[in-house]
Amino acid sequence: MLAHIARRLLTAIPVMFGVLLIGFVLLQVVPTDPAVVRAGPLATPDVIDAIRKDLGLDQPLWMQFFLYLGRLLRGDLGVSIINNVPVSQELGATIGPTLELMFASLIWAIPLGILLGTVAAYWRGSIFDRAVMAFAVAGVSVPVFFVGLVLIWFVGFKWQLLPFTGRDGPIWTLAGLKAIALPALTLGGVFVGPVARMTRTAVLDVLGADHVRTARAKGLAERLVVLHHALRNALIPVVTLIGLQIGFLLGGAVVTETIFSWPGVGRLAVGAILSSDMPLAQGTIIVLSLGFIVINLIVDVLYAVLDPRVRAS
């Protein structure tokens, strides 16, 4: 198991390198010049040149990339061009809220999706099943920002039930909980449908399996048949499928943070890219890709926990 994790971490290194390279290239494409941004509107060309030299922007691109990699290896993420604050400090302040938002979104969305999917599969063809599936299809086709804006408009603005901008303390305080409610509802909401649909398919599949028939033939109560045999086995593909949605989740987090002004990595990334703050943008890309890799790793470990056949090999 540990060897397995170590192997996965090793394979993450080239992935990380690729991410850095692509991120670097993409940021070169942005037409604004960071030195100009940094210098401000009143700077003379001399000043801009000096800043460019200072930031290493006069070097050839490949050199810039390797200098950047070298600094990264020493743990130096650089300094934000706009705020002149170390990137690591900016990231450190935003990772917490992002993790908080993901946690608050998934903690209800995944169990709810699994519950709905299981019940729908068990009573397939029923009105409940059709309602869940209609909801799931709607959930897939409605974009995150739309859900967010609808919630903001009604719950936040018209009915004034919950706040809809920013974070208000940690999640275990009432104010913090209220502040995270709408963002978590938005990000989780778009996840319930897909999880329900994947669970339904997986449970339906397992319900037809021979070992479920065996479970019934031993006289098990239906509740146990469904929980211990159908759902328990269906969780294996469900975890894999949820793992495949990580990109969707991270993208959703970026959008959600932006529309709710949630002080997380996603919003930071959008701000940094829009203002051509290259070191900061690079930093957020690193964090988001690390998040991607870590979640993948968690999925892998879960997979082995759930399936003894994987554990053995």
Partner: protein, 329 residues
């Protein structure tokens, strides 16, 4: 066993699959019975309704299948009138069942021990350690070496034969009075097959249970069964004591299964192997269901369905031409 009533008596059972084309009968008017301590063999080609029949007894026919008429009397009670809860008490309790595919019939994510304990706990109110003792005992009874070790293992760690032993241990863990074995050895190789069959026989002697043994292997029936029912397209076409049916088969289908026509002079003459396959429930021919494949078929066979007729003590066949010797011998 003379004078004793049957443990299980199925009367005129009909199980259909609902479809847009109407009710398709997979089991159509089957009557068979098993006496206590005896073994009934059910034979027939693939698709003739053996599995549907056995699942009907357990009332576990998958949707859209349902039992539309008949009765299944087990120990004096009609299973078809029991509530779902009462039926659940019988499944794995008084009636055990094992299946063809030991590879897929056990749940891959739970240990062998846990799966047996589940079966035990479904029927007996035992403490965790007592249930474990019963489970390990069950493994020992099916002659699994090192049962304490196997108890902790997952199905993928066992060979096919071992898995089938585990299935048997599980089915017998609550000491059922009837074991339904649906092709228990078909997926196993020959030496393992023989071991499993020997084990079943031994366990039957030890417990006095009745067995319904489903197979398409006549050799298995000859070795294991006391009575045999030959099924074709959802119906029993010939039934009786194994000696009678094997020694003096009367239905052309049974003869076809043997691949030879026994003659009065004792010599066996080879018959063309029966061509074609069992018609599915949506394409049943009129008259005798076997007539399109039957070398003896006459006009009557093509229009009128023959019913089981007695030919000897408890030996019956459903053929207009039976006994065949009378007409062709």
């Amino acid at each position: 066993m003379a004078g004793q009533g049957p443990l299980l008596a199925i009367e005129d059972l009909r199980t259909v699959f609902r479809s847009s084309a109407g009710d398709l009968p997979a089991v159509d008017g089957v009557s068979v019975s098993v006496a206590p301590g005896r073994t009934l063999g059910i034979v027939g080609e693939s698709g003739c309704g053996k599995s549907v029949l056995s699942l009907s007894i357990m009332r576990l026919v998958p949707r859209p299948g349902r039992i539309t008429s008949g009765s299944i009397r087990f120990d004096g009670r009609d299973l078809l009138t029991l509530s779902e809860g009462e039926m659940r008490g019988l499944r794995g309790g008084s009636i055990g069942m094992i299946f063809q595919e030991p590879m897929t019939s056990l749940n891959p994510v739970h240990t062998v021990g846990r799966q047996i304990i589940e079966a035990v706990s479904a029927h007996k109110d035992l403490s965790a350690s007592a249930a474990k003792d019963v489970a390990i005992d069950a493994l020992r009874r099916v002659r699994i070496p090192a049962p304490e070790k196997r108890f902790e293992e997952y199905p993928h760690q066992l060979s096919g034969g071992m898995r089938q032993r585990v299935m048997i241990a599980m089915a017998l863990s609550c000491e059922p009075r009837l074991l339904i074995a649906d092709e228990p050895t078909t997926a196993l190789d020959v030496t393992i097959q023989a071991q499993i069959l020997d084990l079943l026989k031994l366990l039957q002697q030890e417990t006095g249970m009745s067995i319904i043994l489903i197979t398409h292997d006549l050799g298995v029936v000859a070795e294991m069964a006391d009575e045999v029912a030959v099924m074709y397209a959802g119906r029993v076409v010939e039934t009786g004591p194994v000696n009678a049916v094997f020694g003096d088969a009367q239905h052309p289908y049974t003869l076809g299964l043997f691949g030879s026509v026994p003659r009065l002079d004792g010599e066996n003459q080879s018959l063309l192997a029966i061509e074609g396959t069992v018609p599915p429930p949506f394409a049943l021919p009129p008259g005798c269901r076997f007539n399109p494949r039957c070398g003896f078929a006459s006009d009557r066979c093509r229009s009128e369905m023959p019913l089981l007729r007695p030919l000897g003590p408890s030996h019956q066949a459903a053929c207009w031409h039976a006994p065949v010797e009378a007409e062709f011998g």
